[in-house]
């Protein structure tokens, strides 16, 4: 859920970049860095919401 919201914010932000950046390599690179960092934050929200799940002493598993 939070991942979905984060992704929507990033799409809106990218849309904003189309209208606001003009002839600047630095601004272009910063926009790209923002999208990359933003997406890592979005993926990190999945780890955060997964962190509280499960209980001690359950079935062991996973790779």
């Amino acid at each position: 859920m939070i991942y979905g919201i984060a992704v929507l914010i990033l799409i809106a932000l990218t849309l904003l970049f189309y209208f606001t950046i003009e002839k600047s390599v630095v601004a272009l690179v910063l926009a790209i860095v923002t999208i990359i960092v933003g997406y890592f934050v979005a993926v990190a929200t999945i780890a955060r919401e997964s962190e509280g799940e499960g209980a001690e002493g359950g079935r062991p598993g996973g790779s």
Binding site: V7, L15, E22, L28, A31, G54, S63
Partner: protein, 544 residues
């Protein structure tokens, strides 16, 4: 057994689906639809090829370019994405030895992807919407050339595909990170670090190395999925931008005097698109090669740690490589042309070379190996990338780009050889190796002779088509252009013959699969699974 009976019931009884899990069925649903879209893309390719030789009377110019617009979309999203999604949604829980997070999301993903691709295709077929696949700004919103309803239909299709992609990315990461009900708590943050390669990076500076929590193919899937998510953000934002202009026009508030910098749009768009073209394909493909090499050889991967490091470097390379698409743009800053366009692109030769070397050495150390279908298609896939990647490096040179830019070389020798020979043969290898796992070993291949014929026709047809298109390009034939006077007919006829071999290879493969599964078996894939579980496969029954 009569032909009709065998066609209906399949070879040796065909697919028996009683013990199939929902994930096995969903993976096969993705693959079957992906193969059908591949067939559609192959047909479109042949129609365009024939039109290049001699214009076909039933196809006018607008229809030709609408086919050219949807052709790569059908091929990439409808076929390659679908097959990759199906395989990875199954392999992630299978390799992590835990249930998938959500079967419903996985099921919804294939429906959205398939529906979205079909709607996008309809925009071309019904309305001849044809701003070509790169959607160069402001071409997509040129209402003098292109139908407004066609454009909206196209974007609705794109939305379906992108929503399906985001559901896939969420499901993959959630499956790696979550704790299934009744399980011991999973270390989500540690799993994330291991998936993204941060743990591997920190290991370089540690005296005591930490063990990797996720297997190598999961690391490749995770890192490729990051690029897939980033790509989906860029494509979604471009789609939204186009939609804003469409809706403005539709409701009488034209935005034609508002301004978006075309070069900036092109940079962001190509940055996003190249995350698939250069990053994701190479990361996913390298990961798939490693998995296939381990499964085929039954041995651990050679130089595992280097392979993990190379995957991390490939991810960084894929973020910084886009400018080779803008080398002939006069306004593009020289620093981007040289650093991103030439230098970073050349680095792909190293990362791809490492993947080829590791895969081949892993196989070599396990010899003698039986030349099975999965092995020969894997070798074909490696050969495809060994041809297509250097072709890409050649054209990513500022001098050579002046000669080759926008010609048939780019789309033939580089793109089609990479996708058809490199990627598709790797996917065929994965299909052959996953077939017994996905069908609980109930499906036996109808004909090995047909499988061999499929292999050779596909390999020779794919490389031949790319080579003749490349020769036409070297002689100056542009892509996205129709030549009415047969200027390049020798090359186009030869490329057409190779294209026909590719199409024949696909028909043979499809026939072999239908006869193996049986029509009843193929229909059964789309019926709900009798077993209700989120596990990838059911555990083997214990002997009493």
């Amino acid at each position: 057994m009569g032909f009709v009976k065998r066609l209906m019931e399949g070879y040796e009884g065909g697919l028996r689906d009683e013990a199939m899990t929902p994930m096995q069925k969903i993976a096969l649903r993705f693959v079957v639809i992906g193969l059908l879209f591949y067939g559609l893309a192959a047909l479109e390719g042949m129609i365009m090829r024939l039109h290049e030789v001699k214009p076909l009377p039933m196809i006018d110019e607008s229809h030709f370019f609408s086919i050219m617009t949807v052709h790569p979309m059908v091929g990439i999203f409808g076929s390659s994405y679908m097959i990759v999604f199906g395989a990875f949604l199954f392999l992630t829980p299978y390799l992590m030895k835990k249930p998938i997070y959500s079967v419903k999301l996985a099921d919804l993903s294939w429906k959205l992807m398939a529906g979205g691709t079909f709607i996008m295709w309809l925009a071309g077929f019904l309305f001849h919407y044809a701003p070509l696949y790169t959607l160069y700004w402001p071409l997509p919103v040129d209402f003098k050339q292109f139908n407004l309803i066609g454009g909206i239909t196209y974007i609705v299709g794109v939305v379906g595909i992108m929503v399906g992609t985001f559901l896939f990315t969420y499901n993959i990461f959630k499956t790696i990170l979550y704790t299934p009900e009744g399980w011991e708590r999973q270390p989500s943050w540690e799993l994330l670090k291991s998936t993204l390669g941060l743990e591997g990076l920190l290991n370089f500076f540690r005296r005591e190395k930490k063990e990797h929590l996720v297997p190598l193919p999961i690391a490749a899937i995770g890192r490729g999925t990051i690029d897939m998510g980033l790509n989906a953000i860029v494509i979604s934002s471009a789609g939204l931008l186009i939609l804003i202009y469409f809706l403005g026009e539709l409701f009488g508030a034209s935005l034609k005097d508002t301004w978006v910098d075309a070069l900036l749009y092109k940079n962001i768009f190509w940055w996003g698109l190249d995350l698939i073209a250069d990053g994701l394909v190479l990361i996913f493909v390298a990961g798939t090669w490693y998995l296939l090499a381990m499964l085929i050889s039954g041995k651990d991967l050679f130089m595992q740690n280097i392979a993990r490091a190379a995957l991390f470097i490939e991810m960084v390379v894929s973020w910084t490589v886009w400018s080779h698409h803008l080398m002939s743009d006069q306004g593009q800053p020289n620093i981007l042309k040289v650093v991103s366009g030439e230098m970073v692109t050349a680095f792909e030769l190293i990362t791809q070379g490492i993947a080829v070397f590791i895969t081949l050495v892993t196989l070599w150390r396990a010899r003698p190996l039986k030349m099975s279908n999965e092995l020969k298609f894997l070798l074909g896939g490696i050969l495809g990338f060994m041809l297509a990647v250097p072709a890409g490096i050649i054209q990513a040179d500022l001098g050579m780009n002046r000669v080759l830019h926008n010609t048939q070389w780019i789309i033939g020798t580089h793109v089609h050889v990479a996708i058809l020979v490199g990627l598709t043969m790797t996917l065929y290898s994965a299909i052959y190796i996953l077939l017994p796992i996905l069908t609980n070993n109930t499906v036996k291949l109808y004909s090995q002779k047909l499988a061999n014929l499929h292999f050779w026709l596909h390999l020779i047809g794919g490389i031949g088509m790319g080579a003749f298109m490349g020769m036409a390009g070297m002689d100056g034939m542009l892509r996205r252009a129709i030549y009415l006077n047969g200027e390049y007919n020798t090359y186009m006829i030869l490329a057409g013959i190779c294209g026909a071999m590719l199409l024949a290879a696909f028909v043979i493969f499809l026939y072999n699969i239908v006869m193996s599964f049986g029509v009843r078996g193929l229909i059964a894939i789309y019926r709900p699974a009798a077993v209700q579980t989120n596990e990838a496969v059911l555990p083997p029954k214990e002997e009493s």
